[in-house]
């Protein structure tokens, strides 16, 4: 069953540096029927995972991963045409211009909102 706003059967990459938040999101996404890729908490790990995964439907990205920013991961996804959202506590004004149009979901978020933002 794969409705337009549904996560069922979608392969969703999760990039989040906090273990418990990542774990929470993973559970929530899985509960909604998504197949979670990751979670991973670092830029290099995320890039490696993207590199070795042929099929990705969408991604949820935390903006700040420890001391680095997630933008290289965003660029890699943009290049592959994979839709993604930022799950972040950061205000819109802090996000650099090239990513200004990317949807933001404030943490903590509901999986339905992510689903709508990604596939709605």
């Amino acid at each position: 069953m794969m409705g337009p706003n549904s996560l069922t059967g979608r392969r969703v990459l999760l990039v989040e540096d906090d273990y418990f938040i990542a774990d929470e999101l993973r559970r929530d996404l899985a509960k909604s029927g998504a197949e979670v890729l990751g979670p991973v908490g670092r830029v290099d790990e995320a890039l490696a995972l993207i590199g070795r995964t042929a099929h990705i439907d969408g991604a949820v990205l935390d903006i700040k991963l420890h001391d680095e920013m997630v933008y290289p991961v965003a660029d890699a996804l943009l290049e592959r045409g994979v839709p993604f959202v930022f799950a972040t506590g950061y205000d819109k004004s802090v996000i650099p211009a090239p990513y200004a149009k990317v949807r933001r979901c404030e943490k903590p978020f509901e999986p339905e909102i992510v689903a709508k933002a990604l596939f709605g």
């Binding site: 273990y19 938040i21 929470e24 420890h66 950061y90």
Partner: protein, 576 residues
């Protein structure tokens, strides 16, 4: 003698009449002092009739200056010349004026202080001396007004003289001075000879033209006296105003030199006319190199266009207010300045000049930027913290059998979280050490009462901020467990926490060992921390490796618990 005089007089009057086209009574006056008349004639020829100045200019000036003479003979006669009754300046080739032109000349207003100041300003602005202006031009008006000042109040005419000299050049200036001297002599002569009558031609003209007659005669005398007094007043005012302006300028500039702003004066469109010493000191540019538009060189190249455009609108807006960067000579870097200027206006509302200040707002801007970053960071931290609280709640729910269990464990974990937040916010300037973090957790347990059973040992190690929160929560789980179920919950248990630093291929690392001995295995197994899948072990065995790239172990023996946490000390960006 009489005959000779009369014969000579006859050829003299012929010559005069020949020149003017008629015989003015002026040259028939004082028959008893024929020598004086001869001298007057010679003077008239050299300074007036033969002077190489344009004929109409001379005649119009004669008429204009005669407005200020109480005896009306000169103004009537010379207006006659101008109208073609006789010849303008004795010049056959000169085109006489129409009545309207003559009236306009007589009606010209006497300038007030401000207008005269502008007149002199315009004359002084001449870069090159030029020919005498054509009749009825602004340039002629300016010159007439300045010459009037020289004519009426020579003792205060220094500025007017230099203005005229600048405008017309030395040679023409000398001719003008000679001309003025002759007009003055003529006026004096007429005042000494009140018997001088208007010639019949002018009587007829005035009869035909009552308006002209009124201007020349009736109210003319009173007007003249008043105009004369007014002009003197004007010149006096101007003189005083200039003096007090110079004085107040000097006072103002002394005050200005003491304030921290860069101060300057400018005229229309931002042409600087003065810059304060602070400007020179800050920009390293001499005042003379900053005048005009020289000051623009100190403005950041990216800001120049904006500044010039802004000046274009300043007069219309009535203010100049803009922020731009100026180069600091000593540091060789640009700093932000807020520049404001207000126009000074004359009595008629015209902008005379701008007085402006430039205030260094660089530190202020930097602080504002820092504040914006801090606010963004605070937002991020707060929202992140809420997400952490939410995940702790759901983890705790999963590990709790009753609501009472949940309440105790949850509030305990929130307290630990709040403690580490406190530590983090205090540490905005200073680093958090291993000992401080551990101390804060043990102290919260009241562990110092059992200090004989606790050993804490290790070198001074600074923790990176990004690792503190998760690390602190893990230590909290260990400490709580020790207190409730482990070594500190028994009579004879001991707790030993030691750490050391070392380096491997991943960089500098911290190796911490948490060792509890003399514990009761049965009791320990009740602990939610120790239970596989419980929050504490999840934190240690999964969260630390995930978030901090830590290597961890957690082993429970018969009477011993041993946990090791080994994590990188360097920032992750440096590892990459």
């Amino acid at each position: 003698m009489q005959d000779e005089r009369s014969r000579e007089g006859s050829s003299f009057t012929k010559a005069v009449a020949e020149r003017f086209g008629l015989l003015p009574n002026f040259f028939c006056s004082a028959p008893a002092a024929a020598g004086l008349i001869d001298e007057l004639w010679a003077f008239a020829k050299s300074a007036y009739l033969d002077s190489p100045l344009p004929s109409l200019f001379k005649e119009r000036l004669f008429v204009h200056l005669s407005r200020f003479c109480e005896v009306r003979y000169c103004i009537v006669r010379h207006l006659g010349f101008l109208l073609g009754e006789g010849r303008p300046s004795g010049d056959r080739a000169a085109t006489p004026h129409t009545l309207a032109q003559a009236l306009a000349l007589l009606r010209r207003p006497v300038p007030d202080t401000t207008a005269l100041d502008h007149v002199l300003g315009r004359l002084e602005a001449h870069a090159q001396p030029s020919e005498l202006p054509a009749p009825e031009t602004q340039a002629e008006t300016d010159l007439f007004d300045a010459l009037t000042v020289m004519f009426l109040v020579p003792q205060r005419s220094a500025r007017a003289r230099s203005g005229v000299q600048k405008a017309v050049g030395d040679k023409r200036f000398e001719l003008l001075v000679a001309f003025l001297a002759f007009v003055r002599t003529a006026h004096y002569w007429t005042e000494m000879h009140p018997e001088l009558a208007y010639e019949p031609d002018m009587c007829a003209v005035m009869e035909r033209q009552p308006e002209l007659a009124r201007l020349l005669l009736a109210t003319g005398e009173a007007e003249t006296a008043r105009a004369n007094a007014e002009l003197r007043q004007t010149i006096d005012d101007l003189h005083r105003a200039k003096g007090s302006l110079r004085e107040s300028d000097a006072r103002l500039r002394a005050v200005i030199a003491g304030i921290p702003q860069l101060v300057w004066q400018a005229v229309r469109g931002g042409e600087w006319t003065w810059a304060s010493p602070q400007w020179t000191e800050y920009t390293g540019r001499l005042e003379e190199n900053s005048l005009g538009f020289g000051w623009l060189d100190a403005v950041h190249p990216d800001d120049r266009e904006k500044v010039v455009l802004h000046w274009g609108e300043a007069e219309h807006l009535g203010t100049f207010d803009i922020a731009y960067r100026l180069c600091h000579a000593a540091d060789q870097r640009y700093r932000w300045f807020r520049t404001r200027a207000k126009p000074m206006r004359d009595g008629k509302g015209n902008v005379v000049e701008w007085l402006g200040t430039s205030t260094d707002v660089d530190n202020l801007r930097q602080m504002q930027e820092r504040q914006e970053v801090l606010v963004a960071e605070l937002q991020h931290r707060t929202r992140n913290l809420l997400a952490v609280v939410r995940s702790i709640a759901s983890q705790t729910i999963r590990g709790s059998e009753t609501l009472g269990d949940f309440e105790t464990a949850f509030s305990d974990r929130l307290t630990a979280l709040s403690r580490v937040q406190g530590l983090l916010s205090r540490a905005d300037g200073e680093p958090i050490t291993m000992r401080a973090l551990l101390g804060s957790e043990l102290e919260a347990l009241g562990a110092e009462e059992q200090s004989g059973r606790i050993v804490v040992q290790g070198p001074e190690v600074r923790l990176r901020k990004g690792s503190v929160q998760t690390f602190a929560l893990a230590l909290h789980e260990l400490a709580t467990n020790a207190r409730k179920y482990g070594a500190l919950a028994t009579e004879s248990g001991h707790l030993k926490v030691t750490w050391q630093t070392y380096a491997d291929e991943t960089g500098p690392r911290l190796a911490l060992e948490w060792q509890e001995t003399g514990l009761d295995r049965e009791q320990e197994e009740l602990s939610p921390t120790t239970k596989p899948g419980g929050y504490g072990r999840e934190l240690i065995e999964h969260a630390l490796p995930y978030a901090l790239k830590a290597r961890t172990t957690y082993d429970l023996g018969e009477a011993e618990l041993r946990c090791t946490i080994d994590l990188p000390l360097a920032e992750s960006t440096r590892e990459n």
